[in-house]
Symmetry: C2
Subunit: 486 residues, 2 copies
């Protein structure tokens, strides 16, 4: 029996999850921003969506993961994986895109990387980093089903049984059943429908939401790319060959990457191939595509309110408050979403939460950094929070993680004072290096090389007071940098 | 003609405005708080209500003012008067209450002070510090009318022609007209009515709102107090005799002050006297008693929105945003009041803005300082803003005004670093005093006496980083203090 022999052989291919952790960070602004998009948002349970995705993926993986993310977010993606498992971090690979180019190029590069990692073909399980799936058991069972379909050379997509006539998703039209296991052939991929069409789709029972999660063998997807998108695959091979690898990170040259077509795997391959199978998900699923979706996930009090943070609700109904350190008092309001961050506040009617994208668009138009950046900025060495940004000074709180070191640098237009408030900092100023204990301070004159380092096993916290006339991040002349930023 | 002779004699009494600048600061929370109540709130035009009241009062005064306020607010009341006129500040008097005791004791103390200032009887014009009156001409004309009535020995109250059946005010029932000038005898003072009664009052045309502004001669009000509230007057005389005067400030001892009855001048005198005249105001008037009242004063765009600060409105209607430095984005909301401050946010439906008092009550119950204090705190020497309040450090931005000096002090549980960011500070640490220029810093060890002084003509700004385990304002041991706080 040739076909069962083939099945048993290819079923042994290692399963390598591919986590796509990108995103513009617009739909959940102001918590999500381009420099800290949705997968990196910490949920009330203390975990990020990315962390949850890592756990879900490692549960079915035969080894480590492949994570595809933006170059600027690579260290954050690594940090989140370190929270899950040091071993997973050691066996995983990070493909860092210098610029976003949609899912087809990302998956093609991941397929090439996977074959190097597996030293031969592998099965890829492509997952978005910003989906919420609570039932990991059901998810794993569906992945096992997808694996058998991949072994039968299908391109597999995971479909979600619609709960309402959503117009924001594409749909899969199911064809013939593939045996008794629930899987179906996919007859068609259909675009985001209008409301009437969506209603008809849901009523028919023949349509599933297209989740954006996929399974296929590297052999199969590369063959399909070769057949349906040969130019793209050729470009991807050029980019892949120009890669440079540093530890577990793979970097690609910007110019070659720019030349890649910005196209989704759905357009490039899935919609064109006759050999696509759908696994209807038996797990719960949300892509958390709006603040309304977030509020739908929260548990509510009898008045329909949910509140995180320091809040005081009086006569409020059906209102969701996602607070920060500030006190949020809401009186007599209904159907609101209130999302507070240190530098931007959103107050939206529940039914209009999709319009938050317009806010981000307007901010981007006026080049307002609050579209993309938080007051707290993550860095490879730790993080900083801006406490004051005045005409005469800028004050930051810095956290330097154990073993990390900032670049050797100088500033032309500002002097700096560092006061260590906890931990012991190793400081270099000019030719001198010394330890600075908690409660002590040092002065860095203008145009003087300096460096801050944590040689201990506990984080350092310090307050930096910059005095001068210009405080931009571009007044940093770097001489040495562990993180390749010179 | 005895009466006209008497008129011409008493009409010559000097007019001394008495500004009552107290208030709990609850109704306009979070902008107004007990430590910085409504009269001290800065309006969009850059002036405070108190400043506007000063100008209005000085326009009719024959000399300086008497300002009655809380002891903690005295320096602020002075600072606001200095913004109006140095001469007015030099000729005015500040009666500082160690604890709030309503309007009857305040007015009685003001009457005694006025007779000392005038070296004999005077006419008092009692004004609340938190009313908004735009038409200063009409106001002055009404004050002149009130003066003639005072000269005829009336107790005068200013009444406001109702614009709606307000249930939050007391009403004056008008009696016989007093000549052709518009003034009437007051037949009765009536309490805050229910809605139906208020409607009937407004329909009748015989009722005015009781504004809380009064006029009377010191002779007349002291005689009336002696007749209707003799015990209170006796207590007030005790308190007055125990006063201490420092420059233009009059201080009263706390224990004696506590013994004063907490009673309004309406209850104590006005409602009991048959000789009360009402001047129906010909000026516009608002007591700005709620955020809704504030929003009613603002100009609106065609959708009924008004926005101060950094705001972005999309599809909002009939919404008022009073922002601060943070970006406030409002989407698809209606009939909201959004008031943002650095540490507390209010989102209220327009029709429920009175319930903000409940928020303040709840905060007071849990001893939350955000009921009473802002992150920026005014001090006699200038102000400070809390930039960071962490477990391991506290960071403040300090402003020291020209010629001012902080107390000589020490802290047991924290060291401090001062970095001057503009101006030149005179610093004393232990036995050493020196000038610290902009861009330079100094270190103040635990248990070390230190002092900060501005000997220049321009404000100093500096960043203070406190490091230690406790950062409360009560860890200040003061040795010398120009402002009497030792």
């Amino acid at each position: 029996m040739t076909s069962s022999k083939k099945l048993s052989m290819t079923a042994k291919l290692p399963l390598i999850p591919v986590i796509l952790a990108g995103g513009a960070g617009t739909r959940l602004w102001p918590q999500s921003r381009r420099a800290h998009p949705k997968p990196f948002m910490r949920l009330p349970d203390g975990e990020t969506l990315l962390e949850k995705t890592y756990r879900r993926a490692l549960n079915v993986a035969d080894g480590g993961l492949i994570v595809v993310t933006a170059q600027d977010l690579g260290f954050l993606a690594e940090r989140e994986l370190a929270r899950v498992s040091a071993q997973a971090l050691a066996t995983s690979h990070f493909l860092l895109e210098p610029i976003g180019r949609n899912t087809a190029p990302a998956i093609a590069l991941a397929a090439l990387a996977a074959e190097r990692i597996a030293n031969g073909p592998a099965t890829l399980l492509v997952l978005a980093a910003d989906h919420l799936i609570a039932d990991v058991e059901a998810f794993s069972a569906d992945v096992r089903l997808a694996q058998t379909l991949c072994a039968d050379d299908f391109l597999v997509t995971f479909g979600i049984r619609p709960t309402h006539p959503e117009t924001g998703f594409g749909y899969l039209k199911l064809g013939a059943a593939l045996g008794e296991n629930g899987a179906h052939v996919v007859d068609a991929f259909v675009e985001k429908p209008n409301a009437d069409t969506a209603l008809a789709y849901v009523a028919s029972g023949d349509y599933l939401w297209n989740s954006g999660m996929f399974g296929f063998s590297t052999t199969r997807i590369l063959a399909a790319l070769g057949e349906y998108a040969p130019e793209l695959l050729a470009q991807v091979r050029v980019v892949d060959q120009a890669r440079s690898e540093v530890r577990s990170q793979t970097h690609y040259p910007l110019e070659a990457f720019k030349a890649l077509e910005d196209i989704s795997i759905d357009y490039a391959v899935m919609e064109r191939s006759p050999a696509v199978a759908a696994v209807p998900a038996r797990f719960d699923w949300s892509d958390i595509g709006s603040w309304r979706a977030v509020s739908d996930l929260n548990s509510r009090d009898p008045d329909g309110n949910s509140a995180q943070g320091d809040t005081l609700l009086i006569g409020a109904r059906n209102t969701t408050v996602i607070g920060s350190a500030r006190l949020v008092a809401a009186i007599g309001v209904e159907n609101l979403l209130i999302v507070d961050t240190p530098d931007a506040l959103l107050v939206a009617h529940r039914d209009h939460s999709q319009a938050v994208k317009q806010v981000v668009d307007q901010l981007n138009l006026r080049e307002d950094s609050r579209a993309t950046q938080h007051l707290t900025v993550q860095r490879p060495w730790g993080s900083y929070s801006i406490l004051e940004d005045g005409a005469d000074c800028k004050v930051k709180r810095l956290t330097v993680l154990p073993g990390q070191v900032l670049s050797l640098q100088l500033h032309h237009q500002r002097s700096e004072h560092w006061t260590v408030v906890s931990g012991t900092a190793r400081v270099t100023i000019g030719e001198r290096s010394f330890d600075l204990e908690s409660g002590h301070a040092c002065f860095i004159p203008v145009n003087t090389r300096h460096r801050l380092e944590n040689q201990t096993a506990t984080p350092i916290h310090l307050i930096e007071v910059q005095v001068g006339s210009y405080f931009g991040e571009d007044d940093i002349v770097r001489f040495e940098d562990r993180y390749g930023r010179v």
